[in-house]
């Protein structure tokens, strides 16, 4: 794969002195889906806004397929579609007019066949002559996507695409994203929802306090940082962990009737066999055994909490 978007040491300090981006560097490969995770105020939207032209960077460069977003902004911007976080639409326009407007604004000649296919893909074709104000929230969000796709962009930015969207619609949105990826569109999305990144992203970037903490292949990230826990339910509650178990990283659960053992799935020895033997030798009766894998959310919380606030 080759890079389609290259961000180099991008910094943004607002007029009030707030440092929203403190030198972000990132390369995005053609055709991938990158999810940017981060708490509120982490700099996700500033990053997207700077790439797309709504915010002027303080320093640093961004190139889109080799075109600098400042010096060669026309070529760079023509390749980008942006779906903003807030629903922003002219309320009294019809769906089709507002989508056609977007295509024209990006300098593309009218193409009714393309607009029809975009609207059909987003289940909006039946509503094409409806005024925006008469649409539901979910439909409005899809109109924003249709506008962003109207000029056939190669990169699509989705700023919190499923914020405030119900579960069924969120799944629909994920399907739409998968379809776009199949069409070869590179997608960068920001989200609060870890499960969203887990479900659709190829790579995950974690951003907080204006810094990119890490960018990694999702599977690798989960494998590297993923820990597994085994929880053993005891037949009878105990007050303290027996001394014979001291060599294991075991914690006593609440109420004293369970033991929690954390291990690395990639370690040469997980230590599970030894633990179980030691439990039997200590004379503890096991009632039940459960295993849990840490999710991206746990990894994310660990990373963000590890940062000085």
């Amino acid at each position: 794969m080759t890079a389609i978007l290259t961000i180099t040491d991008l910094k943004k300090t607002y007029d009030d002195g707030f440092k929203a981006l403190k030198g972000v560097s990132l390369t995005i490969e053609r055709g991938e889906i990158l999810a940017l995770l981060g708490p509120n105020g982490a700099g996700k939207t500033t990053l997207i806004s700077t790439i797309c032209g709504m915010v002027t960077p303080t320093s640093g460069t961004v190139t889109v397929d080799g075109h600098d977003t400042q010096a060669d902004y026309r070529a760079a911007r023509a390749m980008i579609g942006l779906v903003p976080q807030e629903i922003a639409l002219q309320p009294f326009e019809t769906v089709i007019n507002t989508v056609r407007f977007s295509r024209g604004l990006f300098g593309k000649a009218r193409n009714d066949a393309h607009i029809e296919s975009v609207l059909r893909k987003l289940s909006l074709w039946d509503k094409k002559d409806t005024q925006i104000t008469a649409l539901s929230g979910g439909m409005k969000r899809r109109v924003l996507i249709a506008k962003a796709l109207s000029h056939e962009p190669r990169i699509l930015f989705l700023d919190e695409p499923t914020a405030g969207v119900d579960v069924a619609l969120r799944k629909d949105m994920w399907d739409t994203v998968a379809d776009l990826k199949a069409d070869g569109v590179t997608i960068i999305l920001t989200t609060h929802y870890i499960e969203e990144a887990e479900a659709i992203a190829d790579r995950v970037g974690v951003i907080t306090h204006g810094e990119l903490l890490l960018v990694q292949d999702k599977e690798t990230l989960m494998a590297q940082m993923g820990k597994k826990q085994i929880e053993v339910q005891l037949g009878e509650a105990i007050k303290a962990i027996p001394e014979s178990l001291a060599r294991f990283d075991v914690k006593l659960g609440e109420g004293g009737d369970s033991l929690v053992y954390t291990y690395d799935t990639h370690g040469e020895r997980t230590g599970i066999t030894g633990l179980l033997v030691a439990l039997a030798e200590a004379g503890l009766v096991l009632r039940d055994v459960q295993t849990r894998q840490s999710s991206l959310e746990d990894i994310f919380v660990d990373l963000v909490d590890g940062e000085p606030a």
Binding site: P84, I87, A88, R100, G104, L105, F106, G107, A109
Partner: protein, 253 residues
């Protein structure tokens, strides 16, 4: 130049106008008729004629200017303020367009609407008074420049305004008084000498005087000065808009 983008903005703005065509068309016809009834009939019965022109005909250029200026400002300011208000301005800022193209689109549409209304008023006036236009080319030029320059000014107001109240503030508190005191309904020569001098500081005087000259061949101030004033005003607005987009004032963080 991204002509497709300019055309897209222009067409989008004009669609808004055509959606409310009856209102766009009827309101200038009605207000012009009212002005003729009130000013033409009531005051006109006392002022027979001004410098050889019947009072009814004399006020036509001023009436056109009054509507054209207010319409150009309100259409252009609303046109660019509304995307700021709804948030859709993100699209303009992220599109492969430069400031001139955005201005051409919005200001062009606002000027077209103002021009349309000016022409409607001109035709409506024909029903009330006999009108002859001494210098038709100059008349068209003045009308076009007025539509354009005040649409530019409206655009600036729309960018500057942070709420609907501010959007109305400049037209209401500055522009309308300047138009009324700029000789729309009287000749400067009818004022006492002191006020004649003070009035000359009102830029609208030069516009209305020039425009009236194109109809009747008589002017309060030299025609060259009128042309210079409107050209200077257009250049001033263009320069200011260039600065807005260069610095991103009120639109880009």
């Amino acid at each position: 130049m991204n002509w497709t983008a300019i055309w897209a903005i222009y067409k989008f703005e004009m669609q808004r106008f055509f959606r409310t065509l009856m209102q766009s068309f009827l309101s200038p016809v009605l207000s012009t008729s009212l002005y003729f009834v009130v000013f033409g009939a009531a005051i006109g019965s006392r002022i027979d004629e001004v410098e050889g022109v019947s009072y009814g005909a004399f006020i036509v250029p001023g009436l056109i200017m009054l509507s054209v200026i207010t319409q150009a400002i309100s259409n252009a300011s609303f046109g660019i303020y509304f995307p700021k208000f709804t948030g859709t301005i993100y699209e303009l800022l992220s599109a492969p367009v430069n400031f001139l193209e955005i201005v051409f689109g919005y200001v062009g549409a606002a000027a077209t609407k103002a021009l349309f209304i000016g022409v409607v008023i001109l035709f409506t006036a024909q029903f009330f008074v006999d009108l002859t236009i001494a210098h038709p080319l100059a008349m068209v030029l003045f009308l076009l420049l007025t539509c354009l320059s005040f649409a530019l000014m409206g655009f600036i107001i729309g960018i500057w305004a942070e709420n609907f109240e501010q959007l109305q503030l400049v037209p209401l508190l500055i522009v309308t008084p300047l138009i009324f005191l700029g000789g729309s309904f009287y000749s400067i020569s009818m004022l006492p000498p002191v006020w004649q001098t003070i009035t000359l500081f009102n830029p609208v005087v030069y516009l209305i005087s020039g425009f009236r000259w194109s109809f009747f061949g008589l002017a309060d101030v030299p025609i060259g000065l009128s042309l210079l004033a409107i050209a200077g005003f257009t250049a001033l607005c263009l320069g200011f808009i260039w600065w807005i987009f260069k610095t991103g004032w009120r639109i880009r963080a």
